[in-house]
Symmetry: C2
Subunit: 264 residues, 2 copies
DNA sequence: TTCATTGTTTGATGTACATCAAAGAGCTTG
DNA sequence: CAAGCTCTTTGATGTACATCAAACAATGAA
């Protein structure tokens, strides 16, 4: 049954198409490198722009870039010059401790912006690695700042994106500092499915693009514990798992694990 | 011996004065509300500004505000309108889970900017609570954005501050996800002392402004574990602890705990 | 096809830290 | 100065998760 899950089953929401997800890597020459006719613009770009403004904003993006699965978009220590908007594919960002322990700091998908860790010291602090073949829009930070000065709405948008990242990380700190393994995984799955849904995919079925170990690193637990927790949810009939295919059978139960009701 | 620690022992570095730390709350009317003659400006404001530019930037700050120990500068859900630069005093920021667990997300001191969590959704996501009587500069975000459009150097500065926060939180994720209790506390103490040193205080002695419980919340451990770990460091001669007074006797040992050398 | 590799699952055992509990230290208040 | 806070320390015990280990599944190369 879960074998039947395919990305093409995802349905569309608003004007976002799932094209970007199911089509093979496109030849960038075939498509105008422009935000104004990008089907992800509602995720990357401020909303409510006039067409004319949008066209002016096209110049934030200089080029596109392909990244093969497993390779780095940027690495710790690389000079920072640009932000990236993910067009297709999936990334993880991570930091390494001195003695080589990896902490995954996030998983990013289409429409999300990465690279902001590099601004503070003009070099990247994280590694960004493609979890599948990916394509990103290169947005030189100079361009972003220049256009931000011209368009208050873009300026605010940039601030919001950075603030969102700060708030997201606050949430991860809560997970890591206060939650138990089951709560962490439940929160993770709910977050993932919610973001996928916003991109036009199913609310219930999806394919994990990361290993148990990467999930574990993100959630501060070992891969065995991730696996066991998946199995537990599965035994309880909350989810159906087959390798990386996940189907959420009882979202309310998941939410209940994540936010246990005080029984008062 | 540790009884002798007083803030007046702190020595000065560069042009930063410790005045702000030791003087009783000042009457705001006595001092011009201006960044251009603030002794913390090197922490809050971009460096390398001309005097004339600096004077123009004075208008980011609208007023100052006093916050009594234990009270909120802002709370989760409050409408966001302004950032705050801490002039004197100490804050903690925290988030609460649905069932009331607190996660301290940071401790902030003079010269640091707080409130950026509110930008993304126009309302605050954290609570900011004064750990001692404090004074902040109120910087309406409208002003910040307006002047940012005018001064690229301020614009870049704002971006750097937000990026720094993102990177800091990455580090906390590493602590929470991968480090053991001793490593966490060692990292915490080293970070604290480094920031205090940048403000003109001793590299070795300081007074904790937060409880064991708050430290524990930040570091994802229970107050008893914090206490035990302090005791352990103390027994090993690495630090001297008497209540909230801490003296670092062997900083290298602390660093070694934090970043264990691979014995290859 | 077989073999190797990589990722996943599951079981047995160990441990770092949490929890429970109680005493002590430093304050504030009357 | 005693009474009553809050915060801290320390000990005894419990447990959630890590670690170690081995089998299994999926994928891709030879």
């Amino acid at each position: 049954m879960l074998d039947a899950i395919t990305l093409t089953e995802a349905y569309n929401v608003s004007s976002l198409s799932d094209q970007a997800w199911i089509s093979p890597p496109m030849n960038p020459e075939l498509f105008k490198v422009a935000c104004s006719n990008c089907n992800l613009r509602e995720l990357c770009m401020p909303v409510g722009l006039q067409q004319a403004e949008m066209v002016k904003l096209d110049s934030v993006v200089s080029t596109r870039k392909r990244i093969k699965e497993g390779s780095h978009l940027f690495s710790h220590g690389d000079p920072f010059t640009t932000l990236y908007a993910i067009r297709t594919g999936y990334f993880k960002t991570s930091v390494l401790s001195e003695d080589g322990r990896e902490q995954v700091t996030g998983f990013q998908m289409a429409g999300e912006i990465i690279g902001m860790d590099g601004i503070v010291s003009d070099q990247h602090h994280c590694n960004a690695i493609a979890l599948e073949d990916a394509e990103v829009c290169v947005m030189p930070f100079e361009n972003v700042e220049e256009l931000s000065r011209e368009f208050p709405v873009l300026q605010r948008h940039v601030h919001k994106i950075m603030s969102r990242e700060i708030v997201r990380e606050n949430g991860v700190m809560m997970l890591l500092g206060n939650m138990r393994a089951e709560e962490r995984l439940a929160a993770f799955l709910l977050n993932l499915v919610q973001r996928l849904h916003a991109r036009g995919f199913s609310q219930t079925e999806f394919v994990l693009r990361m290993t148990r170990e990467e999930i574990g690193s993100y959630l501060g637990m070992k891969l065995e514990t991730v696996s066991r927790t998946f199995s537990k949810f599965s035994e309880e009939g909350i989810i159906e798992v087959k390798q990386r295919n996940v189907k959420i059978l009882n979202p309310d139960a998941l939410k209940n694990i994540f936010t246990p009701q005080s029984c008062g």
